[in-house]
Amino acid sequence: MTTPTPLPNPETRAGQEEMKRMGIVPWPIADDLTRPFWDAANRHELVIQRCTACGEFRHTPRADCLFCKSTDVEWVKLSGKGTVFTYIVDHRNEVPGFDGHYVFAFINPVEAPRTSVRLTGNILECDPDDVYIGMPVEVMYKELKPGVTLPEFRPAPEAKLRSKGQTP
Protein backbone atom coordinates (compact mmCIF):
# COMPACT_ATOMS: atom_id res chain seq x y z
CA MET A 1 0.00 0.00 0.00
CA THR A 2 1.30 3.43 -0.83
CA THR A 3 0.44 6.55 1.13
CA PRO A 4 -1.24 9.15 -1.07
CA THR A 5 0.87 12.26 -1.54
CA PRO A 6 -0.59 15.07 0.56
CA LEU A 7 -2.09 17.94 -1.40
CA PRO A 8 -0.24 21.26 -1.39
CA ASN A 9 -1.47 23.76 1.20
CA PRO A 10 -2.94 26.56 -0.92
CA GLU A 11 -2.58 29.02 1.96
CA THR A 12 1.21 29.08 1.76
CA ARG A 13 3.59 30.39 -0.84
CA ALA A 14 5.23 26.95 -0.93
CA GLY A 15 1.82 25.42 -1.62
CA GLN A 16 1.15 27.87 -4.46
CA GLU A 17 4.57 27.03 -5.93
CA GLU A 18 3.86 23.31 -5.61
CA MET A 19 0.55 23.79 -7.43
CA LYS A 20 2.46 25.56 -10.20
CA ARG A 21 4.86 22.63 -10.49
CA MET A 22 1.91 20.23 -10.60
CA GLY A 23 0.52 22.18 -13.54
CA ILE A 24 -2.68 23.15 -11.75
CA VAL A 25 -4.63 25.83 -13.58
CA PRO A 26 -7.37 27.70 -11.70
CA TRP A 27 -10.81 27.44 -13.25
CA PRO A 28 -14.18 28.88 -12.22
CA ILE A 29 -16.66 26.65 -10.41
CA ALA A 30 -20.06 27.79 -11.66
CA ASP A 31 -22.75 28.10 -8.99
CA ASP A 32 -26.47 28.85 -9.08
CA LEU A 33 -25.79 32.57 -9.29
CA THR A 34 -23.11 32.44 -11.97
CA ARG A 35 -24.03 29.42 -14.09
CA PRO A 36 -25.82 31.41 -16.83
CA PHE A 37 -22.62 33.43 -17.38
CA TRP A 38 -20.34 30.41 -17.71
CA ASP A 39 -22.87 28.41 -19.75
CA ALA A 40 -23.02 31.31 -22.21
CA ALA A 41 -19.21 31.47 -22.34
CA ASN A 42 -19.22 27.83 -23.39
CA ARG A 43 -21.49 28.88 -26.30
CA HIS A 44 -19.10 31.79 -27.01
CA GLU A 45 -21.61 34.34 -25.81
CA LEU A 46 -21.23 37.06 -23.22
CA VAL A 47 -24.25 37.58 -20.95
CA ILE A 48 -24.70 39.64 -17.79
CA GLN A 49 -27.54 40.33 -15.38
CA ARG A 50 -29.99 43.18 -15.82
CA CYS A 51 -32.53 44.19 -13.21
CA THR A 52 -36.01 43.94 -14.69
CA ALA A 53 -37.38 46.35 -12.09
CA CYS A 54 -35.10 49.32 -12.79
CA GLY A 55 -33.25 48.25 -15.91
CA GLU A 56 -29.70 48.57 -14.57
CA PHE A 57 -27.01 46.10 -15.55
CA ARG A 58 -24.76 44.52 -12.95
CA HIS A 59 -21.73 42.25 -12.95
CA THR A 60 -20.22 40.20 -11.35
CA PRO A 61 -23.46 38.38 -10.62
CA ARG A 62 -25.33 39.07 -7.41
CA ALA A 63 -28.71 38.10 -6.08
CA ASP A 64 -30.14 41.61 -5.77
CA CYS A 65 -29.93 44.89 -7.63
CA LEU A 66 -27.33 47.40 -6.41
CA PHE A 67 -29.72 50.23 -7.13
CA CYS A 68 -33.23 49.09 -6.20
CA LYS A 69 -32.59 45.82 -4.31
CA SER A 70 -35.00 43.96 -6.56
CA THR A 71 -34.20 40.30 -7.13
CA ASP A 72 -36.00 40.21 -10.50
CA VAL A 73 -33.37 39.63 -13.11
CA GLU A 74 -32.82 38.73 -16.75
CA TRP A 75 -29.63 37.70 -18.51
CA VAL A 76 -28.81 39.92 -21.49
CA LYS A 77 -26.42 39.11 -24.32
CA LEU A 78 -23.73 41.73 -24.91
CA SER A 79 -21.84 42.59 -28.09
CA GLY A 80 -18.51 41.82 -26.43
CA LYS A 81 -17.19 45.30 -27.18
CA GLY A 82 -15.97 47.49 -24.39
CA THR A 83 -13.18 49.62 -23.01
CA VAL A 84 -10.49 49.09 -20.39
CA PHE A 85 -11.55 50.67 -17.09
CA THR A 86 -8.35 49.80 -15.25
CA TYR A 87 -5.66 47.12 -15.45
CA ILE A 88 -2.50 45.73 -13.95
CA VAL A 89 0.49 44.03 -15.50
CA ASP A 90 1.46 41.23 -13.15
CA HIS A 91 5.19 40.64 -12.73
CA ARG A 92 5.23 38.20 -9.83
CA ASN A 93 3.64 35.12 -11.37
CA GLU A 94 2.62 33.59 -8.09
CA VAL A 95 -0.80 32.42 -9.20
CA PRO A 96 -0.58 28.83 -10.45
CA GLY A 97 -1.01 28.60 -14.20
CA PHE A 98 0.42 32.06 -14.97
CA ASP A 99 3.83 33.03 -16.26
CA GLY A 100 5.47 36.07 -17.78
CA HIS A 101 3.99 39.56 -17.68
CA TYR A 102 0.26 39.23 -18.09
CA VAL A 103 -2.46 41.83 -18.14
CA PHE A 104 -5.62 41.65 -16.07
CA ALA A 105 -8.28 44.28 -16.65
CA PHE A 106 -11.71 45.44 -15.69
CA ILE A 107 -13.72 46.10 -18.81
CA ASN A 108 -16.71 48.39 -19.22
CA PRO A 109 -19.00 46.91 -21.88
CA VAL A 110 -20.32 49.47 -24.39
CA GLU A 111 -23.90 48.56 -23.43
CA ALA A 112 -23.33 49.26 -19.72
CA PRO A 113 -20.69 51.89 -19.06
CA ARG A 114 -21.79 52.27 -15.44
CA THR A 115 -19.39 51.29 -12.75
CA SER A 116 -21.75 48.64 -11.44
CA VAL A 117 -20.52 46.41 -14.26
CA ARG A 118 -17.06 44.93 -14.06
CA LEU A 119 -16.25 42.42 -16.73
CA THR A 120 -13.01 40.71 -15.79
CA GLY A 121 -10.41 39.20 -18.08
CA ASN A 122 -6.90 39.14 -19.38
CA ILE A 123 -5.97 41.28 -22.37
CA LEU A 124 -4.53 38.76 -24.81
CA GLU A 125 -2.89 39.08 -28.24
CA CYS A 126 -1.43 42.34 -27.04
CA ASP A 127 1.90 43.70 -25.80
CA PRO A 128 1.32 44.68 -22.14
CA ASP A 129 2.92 48.07 -22.92
CA ASP A 130 0.14 48.75 -25.43
CA VAL A 131 -2.70 48.61 -22.90
CA TYR A 132 -4.21 51.89 -21.68
CA ILE A 133 -7.26 53.04 -19.75
CA GLY A 134 -10.02 53.57 -22.30
CA MET A 135 -8.55 51.14 -24.81
CA PRO A 136 -11.27 49.61 -27.01
CA VAL A 137 -11.33 45.85 -26.67
CA GLU A 138 -13.42 42.95 -27.92
CA VAL A 139 -14.27 39.63 -26.36
CA MET A 140 -12.64 36.36 -27.33
CA TYR A 141 -12.94 32.92 -25.77
CA LYS A 142 -10.36 30.61 -24.25
CA GLU A 143 -11.29 27.00 -23.54
CA LEU A 144 -9.53 25.94 -20.33
CA LYS A 145 -10.83 22.40 -20.43
CA PRO A 146 -13.95 20.67 -21.78
CA GLY A 147 -16.97 22.54 -20.46
CA VAL A 148 -14.99 25.47 -19.02
CA THR A 149 -14.47 28.50 -21.23
CA LEU A 150 -13.21 31.91 -20.12
CA PRO A 151 -14.28 35.10 -21.86
CA GLU A 152 -11.08 37.06 -22.51
CA PHE A 153 -10.36 40.32 -24.34
CA ARG A 154 -8.06 41.57 -27.08
CA PRO A 155 -7.53 45.02 -28.61
CA ALA A 156 -10.35 46.09 -30.94
CA PRO A 157 -9.29 47.16 -34.45
CA GLU A 158 -9.65 50.83 -33.49
CA ALA A 159 -7.27 50.52 -30.48
CA LYS A 160 -4.18 52.73 -30.75
CA LEU A 161 -1.10 50.59 -30.25
CA ARG A 162 2.16 52.21 -29.17
CA SER A 163 4.06 49.23 -30.57
CA LYS A 164 2.71 50.24 -34.00
CA GLY A 165 3.70 53.86 -33.52
CA GLN A 166 0.18 55.00 -32.67
CA THR A 167 -0.60 57.41 -29.85
CA PRO A 168 -3.40 56.36 -27.50
Binding site: P8, Q16, I88, F98, Y102, S116, I133
Partner: protein, 385 residues
Protein backbone atom coordinates in the same frame (compact mmCIF):
# COMPACT_ATOMS: atom_id res chain seq x y z
CA UNK B 1 -23.02 59.36 19.22
CA UNK B 2 -19.65 58.48 20.73
CA UNK B 3 -19.35 54.73 21.19
CA UNK B 4 -18.30 54.93 24.83
CA UNK B 5 -19.77 56.89 27.74
CA UNK B 6 -16.42 57.24 29.52
CA UNK B 7 -13.05 58.47 28.33
CA UNK B 8 -10.24 56.02 27.65
CA UNK B 9 -6.51 56.54 27.42
CA UNK B 10 -3.36 54.93 26.12
CA UNK B 11 -1.05 54.60 29.11
CA UNK B 12 1.72 52.36 27.82
CA UNK B 13 3.20 51.30 24.49
CA UNK B 14 5.82 48.77 23.52
CA UNK B 15 7.14 46.86 20.54
CA UNK B 16 9.77 44.27 19.78
CA UNK B 17 12.45 45.09 17.25
CA UNK B 18 11.33 44.10 13.74
CA UNK B 19 13.25 41.20 12.19
CA UNK B 20 13.15 39.36 8.90
CA UNK B 21 14.00 36.03 10.52
CA UNK B 22 11.44 34.53 12.89
CA UNK B 23 13.75 33.66 15.78
CA UNK B 24 11.21 33.71 18.60
CA UNK B 25 7.76 32.22 19.02
CA UNK B 26 4.67 34.37 18.64
CA UNK B 27 3.95 33.92 22.34
CA UNK B 28 7.47 35.10 23.25
CA UNK B 29 7.17 38.15 21.01
CA UNK B 30 3.79 39.06 22.48
CA UNK B 31 4.97 38.72 26.07
CA UNK B 32 8.01 40.89 25.36
CA UNK B 33 5.95 43.66 23.72
CA UNK B 34 3.22 43.58 26.41
CA UNK B 35 5.81 43.67 29.23
CA UNK B 36 7.51 46.65 27.57
CA UNK B 37 4.15 48.41 27.34
CA UNK B 38 3.41 47.68 31.02
CA UNK B 39 6.83 48.98 32.02
CA UNK B 40 6.21 52.10 29.95
CA UNK B 41 2.91 52.56 31.80
CA UNK B 42 4.62 51.98 35.13
CA UNK B 43 2.25 49.18 36.06
CA UNK B 44 2.65 45.59 37.13
CA UNK B 45 1.55 43.31 34.25
CA UNK B 46 -0.26 41.26 36.90
CA UNK B 47 -2.79 44.10 37.15
CA UNK B 48 -3.80 43.84 33.49
CA UNK B 49 -7.17 42.08 33.33
CA UNK B 50 -8.15 42.39 29.67
CA UNK B 51 -6.25 41.05 26.66
CA UNK B 52 -6.74 41.18 22.89
CA UNK B 53 -4.22 39.29 20.75
CA UNK B 54 -4.35 39.83 17.01
CA UNK B 55 -2.73 37.96 14.19
CA UNK B 56 -3.60 37.97 10.49
CA UNK B 57 -3.37 34.23 10.08
CA UNK B 58 -4.77 31.02 11.50
CA UNK B 59 -4.41 29.38 13.88
CA UNK B 60 -3.93 32.24 16.35
CA UNK B 61 -1.39 31.84 19.16
CA UNK B 62 -2.49 30.69 22.61
CA UNK B 63 -3.77 33.83 24.34
CA UNK B 64 -3.92 31.99 27.69
CA UNK B 65 -0.19 31.26 27.40
CA UNK B 66 0.51 34.94 26.78
CA UNK B 67 -1.68 35.97 29.72
CA UNK B 68 0.10 33.43 31.94
CA UNK B 69 3.50 34.58 30.70
CA UNK B 70 2.59 38.12 31.64
CA UNK B 71 1.51 36.94 35.07
CA UNK B 72 -2.00 38.36 34.69
CA UNK B 73 -3.80 37.55 37.95
CA UNK B 74 -7.17 37.37 36.29
CA UNK B 75 -8.35 37.47 32.68
CA UNK B 76 -11.72 39.18 32.80
CA UNK B 77 -11.88 39.98 29.10
CA UNK B 78 -10.13 38.13 26.31
CA UNK B 79 -10.50 38.40 22.60
CA UNK B 80 -8.67 36.96 19.60
CA UNK B 81 -8.30 38.94 16.41
CA UNK B 82 -10.45 41.82 15.28
CA UNK B 83 -9.67 44.33 12.63
CA UNK B 84 -6.70 46.51 11.84
CA UNK B 85 -5.12 49.61 13.31
CA UNK B 86 -7.26 51.86 15.46
CA UNK B 87 -10.40 49.71 15.33
CA UNK B 88 -9.27 47.11 17.91
CA UNK B 89 -8.23 49.97 20.22
CA UNK B 90 -11.80 51.21 19.99
CA UNK B 91 -13.18 47.75 20.64
CA UNK B 92 -10.98 47.45 23.72
CA UNK B 93 -12.26 50.80 24.99
CA UNK B 94 -15.81 49.61 24.42
CA UNK B 95 -15.16 46.51 26.54
CA UNK B 96 -13.73 48.72 29.32
CA UNK B 97 -16.78 50.96 29.04
CA UNK B 98 -19.04 47.95 29.46
CA UNK B 99 -17.17 47.03 32.63
CA UNK B 100 -15.67 43.86 31.20
CA UNK B 101 -12.14 44.79 32.32
CA UNK B 102 -10.25 47.67 33.93
CA UNK B 103 -6.85 47.63 32.23
CA UNK B 104 -6.52 46.05 28.80
CA UNK B 105 -3.52 45.21 26.69
CA UNK B 106 -3.89 44.96 22.90
CA UNK B 107 -1.12 43.23 21.00
CA UNK B 108 -0.60 42.69 17.29
CA UNK B 109 1.79 39.92 16.30
CA UNK B 110 3.28 39.82 12.83
CA UNK B 111 4.82 36.56 11.61
CA UNK B 112 6.38 36.38 8.15
CA UNK B 113 6.33 32.60 7.98
CA UNK B 114 2.69 32.07 8.85
CA UNK B 115 0.21 31.44 6.06
CA UNK B 116 -1.21 34.64 4.66
CA UNK B 117 -3.84 35.64 2.16
CA UNK B 118 -3.42 33.63 -1.02
CA UNK B 119 -5.76 32.82 -3.89
CA UNK B 120 -8.30 30.24 -2.83
CA UNK B 121 -7.61 27.47 -5.29
CA UNK B 122 -8.59 23.87 -4.70
CA UNK B 123 -5.20 22.14 -4.57
CA UNK B 124 -6.63 18.92 -5.99
CA UNK B 125 -7.96 20.25 -9.29
CA UNK B 126 -7.61 24.04 -9.45
CA UNK B 127 -11.31 24.86 -8.91
CA UNK B 128 -12.16 28.34 -7.66
CA UNK B 129 -15.54 28.95 -6.00
CA UNK B 130 -17.41 32.08 -4.95
CA UNK B 131 -16.57 35.65 -5.99
CA UNK B 132 -12.89 34.82 -6.78
CA UNK B 133 -14.15 32.70 -9.69
CA UNK B 134 -14.13 35.92 -11.74
CA UNK B 135 -10.60 36.88 -10.69
CA UNK B 136 -8.32 33.94 -9.89
CA UNK B 137 -8.83 32.01 -13.16
CA UNK B 138 -7.41 35.18 -14.75
CA UNK B 139 -4.36 35.19 -12.48
CA UNK B 140 -5.56 37.57 -9.79
CA UNK B 141 -5.89 36.73 -6.12
CA UNK B 142 -3.38 38.82 -4.18
CA UNK B 143 -4.05 42.12 -2.46
CA UNK B 144 -1.23 43.88 -4.31
CA UNK B 145 -3.05 43.15 -7.57
CA UNK B 146 -6.31 44.63 -6.32
CA UNK B 147 -4.40 47.68 -5.08
CA UNK B 148 -2.86 48.05 -8.53
CA UNK B 149 -6.28 47.97 -10.19
CA UNK B 150 -7.91 50.69 -8.15
CA UNK B 151 -4.65 52.56 -7.67
CA UNK B 152 -4.21 52.99 -11.40
CA UNK B 153 -7.78 54.16 -11.92
CA UNK B 154 -7.56 56.57 -9.00
CA UNK B 155 -4.39 58.17 -10.35
CA UNK B 156 -5.97 58.41 -13.80
CA UNK B 157 -9.16 60.08 -12.61
CA UNK B 158 -7.36 62.51 -10.34
CA UNK B 159 -4.59 63.28 -12.81
CA UNK B 160 -1.90 62.30 -10.31
CA UNK B 161 1.43 60.76 -11.23
CA UNK B 162 3.96 58.39 -9.74
CA UNK B 163 6.42 61.21 -9.00
CA UNK B 164 3.82 62.57 -6.57
CA UNK B 165 2.97 59.19 -5.05
CA UNK B 166 6.70 58.51 -4.59
CA UNK B 167 6.96 61.11 -1.83
CA UNK B 168 5.01 58.91 0.56
CA UNK B 169 7.56 56.06 0.58
CA UNK B 170 10.48 58.52 0.32
CA UNK B 171 9.44 60.68 3.29
CA UNK B 172 8.45 57.67 5.37
CA UNK B 173 11.90 56.21 4.75
CA UNK B 174 13.45 59.45 6.01
CA UNK B 175 11.31 59.08 9.12
CA UNK B 176 12.32 55.43 9.59
CA UNK B 177 15.96 56.50 9.57
CA UNK B 178 15.20 58.71 12.58
CA UNK B 179 13.60 55.75 14.36
CA UNK B 180 15.94 53.12 15.76
CA UNK B 181 12.95 50.79 16.08
CA UNK B 182 12.37 50.80 12.31
CA UNK B 183 13.49 47.97 10.06
CA UNK B 184 14.52 49.99 6.99
CA UNK B 185 17.56 52.19 7.61
CA UNK B 186 18.87 52.97 4.12
CA UNK B 187 17.90 56.15 2.28
CA UNK B 188 15.48 56.10 -0.67
CA UNK B 189 15.75 58.63 -3.49
CA UNK B 190 13.24 59.44 -6.23
CA UNK B 191 15.41 57.42 -8.63
CA UNK B 192 15.50 54.49 -6.20
CA UNK B 193 11.72 54.60 -6.12
CA UNK B 194 11.25 54.89 -9.88
CA UNK B 195 13.78 52.09 -10.46
CA UNK B 196 12.20 49.71 -7.96
CA UNK B 197 10.74 46.74 -9.75
CA UNK B 198 7.10 46.32 -10.59
CA UNK B 199 5.14 43.81 -8.57
CA UNK B 200 1.77 44.37 -10.18
CA UNK B 201 2.33 47.38 -12.45
CA UNK B 202 1.55 50.13 -11.40
CA UNK B 203 2.46 48.80 -7.91
CA UNK B 204 6.21 48.79 -7.33
CA UNK B 205 8.18 46.98 -4.67
CA UNK B 206 8.63 50.27 -2.77
CA UNK B 207 4.87 50.82 -2.74
CA UNK B 208 4.50 47.72 -0.57
CA UNK B 209 5.04 47.52 3.18
CA UNK B 210 7.95 45.49 4.46
CA UNK B 211 6.95 42.16 6.02
CA UNK B 212 8.66 41.69 9.40
CA UNK B 213 8.35 39.63 12.54
CA UNK B 214 7.40 41.70 15.52
CA UNK B 215 4.83 42.31 18.22
CA UNK B 216 3.36 45.72 18.94
CA UNK B 217 1.41 46.35 22.15
CA UNK B 218 -0.47 49.14 23.86
CA UNK B 219 -2.35 49.39 27.14
CA UNK B 220 -5.68 51.16 27.51
CA UNK B 221 -7.53 52.12 30.66
CA UNK B 222 -10.06 54.63 31.93
CA UNK B 223 -9.25 58.32 32.29
CA UNK B 224 -9.47 58.08 36.10
CA UNK B 225 -6.94 55.28 36.32
CA UNK B 226 -4.73 56.83 33.62
CA UNK B 227 -4.39 60.06 35.59
CA UNK B 228 -2.59 58.24 38.38
CA UNK B 229 -0.06 56.60 36.09
CA UNK B 230 3.47 57.43 34.98
CA UNK B 231 2.76 59.51 31.88
CA UNK B 232 0.14 62.14 31.13
CA UNK B 233 -2.85 60.32 29.61
CA UNK B 234 -3.10 60.15 25.83
CA UNK B 235 -6.75 60.00 24.83
CA UNK B 236 -8.59 57.89 22.35
CA UNK B 237 -10.78 60.78 21.19
CA UNK B 238 -13.01 58.54 19.10
CA UNK B 239 -13.08 56.03 16.33
CA UNK B 240 -15.43 54.75 13.66
CA UNK B 241 -15.52 52.02 11.12
CA UNK B 242 -15.96 48.39 10.55
CA UNK B 243 -13.58 45.56 11.20
CA UNK B 244 -12.28 43.59 8.29
CA UNK B 245 -10.21 44.47 5.32
CA UNK B 246 -12.78 45.80 2.88
CA UNK B 247 -11.68 45.00 -0.61
CA UNK B 248 -11.24 41.27 -0.43
CA UNK B 249 -10.99 38.53 -2.94
CA UNK B 250 -14.21 39.36 -4.74
CA UNK B 251 -14.75 41.93 -7.44
CA UNK B 252 -14.79 45.35 -5.81
CA UNK B 253 -16.93 48.18 -7.08
CA UNK B 254 -14.70 51.20 -7.21
CA UNK B 255 -16.73 54.33 -7.20
CA UNK B 256 -17.49 56.62 -5.59
CA UNK B 257 -13.94 57.23 -4.39
CA UNK B 258 -15.23 58.51 -1.05
CA UNK B 259 -16.28 55.05 0.13
CA UNK B 260 -15.17 55.68 3.70
CA UNK B 261 -16.44 59.26 3.83
CA UNK B 262 -19.55 58.36 5.87
CA UNK B 263 -17.28 56.67 8.44
CA UNK B 264 -15.05 59.73 8.59
CA UNK B 265 -18.10 61.97 8.99
CA UNK B 266 -19.20 59.84 11.96
CA UNK B 267 -15.75 60.22 13.49
CA UNK B 268 -15.75 64.00 13.16
CA UNK B 269 -19.30 64.27 14.51
CA UNK B 270 -18.63 61.98 17.48
CA UNK B 271 -15.44 63.77 18.48
CA UNK B 272 -16.47 67.31 17.57
CA UNK B 273 -13.08 67.63 15.93
CA UNK B 274 -12.82 69.28 12.53
CA UNK B 275 -10.38 67.70 10.05
CA UNK B 276 -8.62 71.08 9.87
CA UNK B 277 -7.72 70.81 13.57
CA UNK B 278 -5.78 67.59 13.10
CA UNK B 279 -2.01 67.94 13.22
CA UNK B 280 -0.59 64.56 12.28
CA UNK B 281 -1.84 62.36 9.46
CA UNK B 282 -1.13 58.72 10.27
CA UNK B 283 -2.98 57.27 7.30
CA UNK B 284 -2.77 53.55 6.70
CA UNK B 285 0.10 52.70 4.39
CA UNK B 286 0.09 48.95 3.88
CA UNK B 287 0.53 50.16 0.29
CA UNK B 288 1.53 53.71 -0.56
CA UNK B 289 -1.57 53.93 -2.79
CA UNK B 290 -3.78 53.43 0.27
CA UNK B 291 -2.11 56.28 2.18
CA UNK B 292 -2.57 58.50 -0.87
CA UNK B 293 -6.27 57.70 -1.17
CA UNK B 294 -6.95 58.01 2.56
CA UNK B 295 -6.00 61.70 2.51
CA UNK B 296 -9.03 62.56 0.41
CA UNK B 297 -11.25 59.85 1.89
CA UNK B 298 -10.80 61.40 5.35
CA UNK B 299 -11.42 64.90 4.04
CA UNK B 300 -7.92 66.04 5.06
CA UNK B 301 -7.52 67.47 1.57
CA UNK B 302 -10.15 68.06 -1.09
CA UNK B 303 -10.69 65.84 -4.14
CA UNK B 304 -7.81 66.41 -6.53
CA UNK B 305 -5.59 68.02 -3.90
CA UNK B 306 -3.72 65.01 -2.53
CA UNK B 307 -1.12 64.77 -5.32
CA UNK B 308 -0.06 68.42 -5.28
CA UNK B 309 -0.14 68.37 -1.47
CA UNK B 310 2.42 65.62 -1.03
CA UNK B 311 4.59 66.61 -3.99
CA UNK B 312 8.10 67.51 -2.85
CA UNK B 313 7.52 65.90 0.54
CA UNK B 314 7.90 69.07 2.66
CA UNK B 315 4.34 69.22 3.95
CA UNK B 316 4.25 65.61 5.15
CA UNK B 317 7.75 65.50 6.64
CA UNK B 318 8.06 65.43 10.48
CA UNK B 319 8.74 69.18 10.50
CA UNK B 320 6.08 70.03 7.90
CA UNK B 321 2.45 71.15 8.04
CA UNK B 322 0.95 67.70 8.50
CA UNK B 323 3.56 65.05 9.20
CA UNK B 324 2.66 61.62 7.87
CA UNK B 325 3.64 58.41 9.69
CA UNK B 326 6.64 59.87 11.50
CA UNK B 327 7.86 56.42 12.60
CA UNK B 328 8.30 55.24 9.02
CA UNK B 329 4.93 53.60 8.65
CA UNK B 330 4.20 50.06 7.60
CA UNK B 331 6.26 50.86 4.51
CA UNK B 332 9.56 51.40 6.31
CA UNK B 333 9.24 50.79 10.05
CA UNK B 334 7.75 47.43 9.16
CA UNK B 335 4.37 45.84 8.66
CA UNK B 336 2.15 45.95 11.73
CA UNK B 337 -1.25 46.51 10.09
CA UNK B 338 -1.47 49.96 11.62
CA UNK B 339 -0.56 49.05 15.23
CA UNK B 340 2.80 50.81 14.83
CA UNK B 341 0.93 54.03 14.10
CA UNK B 342 -0.80 53.89 17.49
CA UNK B 343 2.52 53.52 19.32
CA UNK B 344 3.97 56.45 17.39
CA UNK B 345 0.89 58.62 17.94
CA UNK B 346 1.24 58.12 21.70
CA UNK B 347 4.95 58.95 21.60
CA UNK B 348 4.33 62.08 19.54
CA UNK B 349 1.58 63.34 21.85
CA UNK B 350 3.84 62.73 24.86
CA UNK B 351 6.72 64.50 23.14
CA UNK B 352 8.97 61.43 23.25
CA UNK B 353 9.77 61.05 19.56
CA UNK B 354 13.27 62.45 19.77
CA UNK B 355 14.82 63.57 16.50
CA UNK B 356 11.53 63.15 14.66
CA UNK B 357 9.37 64.89 17.28
CA UNK B 358 6.71 67.12 15.73
CA UNK B 359 5.78 70.49 17.15
CA UNK B 360 3.20 70.27 19.97
CA UNK B 361 0.68 67.97 18.30
CA UNK B 362 -2.83 67.97 19.73
CA UNK B 363 -4.54 65.47 17.47
CA UNK B 364 -3.38 62.54 15.37
CA UNK B 365 -5.76 60.91 12.90
CA UNK B 366 -5.22 57.23 12.18
CA UNK B 367 -6.83 55.07 9.57
CA UNK B 368 -6.69 51.40 8.79
CA UNK B 369 -7.23 49.06 5.87
CA UNK B 370 -8.90 50.18 2.65
CA UNK B 371 -10.59 53.55 2.24
CA UNK B 372 -13.17 51.95 -0.08
CA UNK B 373 -15.31 50.35 -1.15
CA UNK B 374 -15.75 50.05 2.62
CA UNK B 375 -14.39 48.24 5.59
CA UNK B 376 -11.80 50.76 6.65
CA UNK B 377 -11.62 52.34 10.07
CA UNK B 378 -10.40 55.66 11.40
CA UNK B 379 -9.82 57.27 14.76
CA UNK B 380 -8.27 60.21 16.54
CA UNK B 381 -5.71 60.09 19.35
CA UNK B 382 -5.13 63.33 21.23
CA UNK B 383 -3.83 65.29 24.15
CA UNK B 384 -7.24 65.68 25.75
CA UNK B 385 -10.67 67.16 25.59
Amino acid sequence: MPVTKGKYCFVGVGATHPTRRMDKTEVELAIEACRTAAEDAGIDPADIDGINIQVHHYPPPDTAAIAAGLGMREVKWSRDGGGLGIVPAGEAAKALDEGKATITVVCKIMNTIAPSATPRINPADGGVAGPPQFMTPYGVGYTRQTIGLFGRRYMYERGYNERQLAWIPIVEREHAMMNSGAYMQTPMTMDDYLNSRFIADPVRLFDCDIPVNRAVAYIITSEDRAKGMKHPPVYLMGWAGAEGEGAGAGVPVYEPWDGVAPTATTLYQDTGIDPKEIDLWFVYDGYSYLAFMWLEALGLVGPGEAGPYIEGGERIRYNGEHPMNTHGGNLSEGRAHGAGQIVEAVRQIRGEAGERQTKDPNYVILSSAFPYPSGGGCGIIGRGY
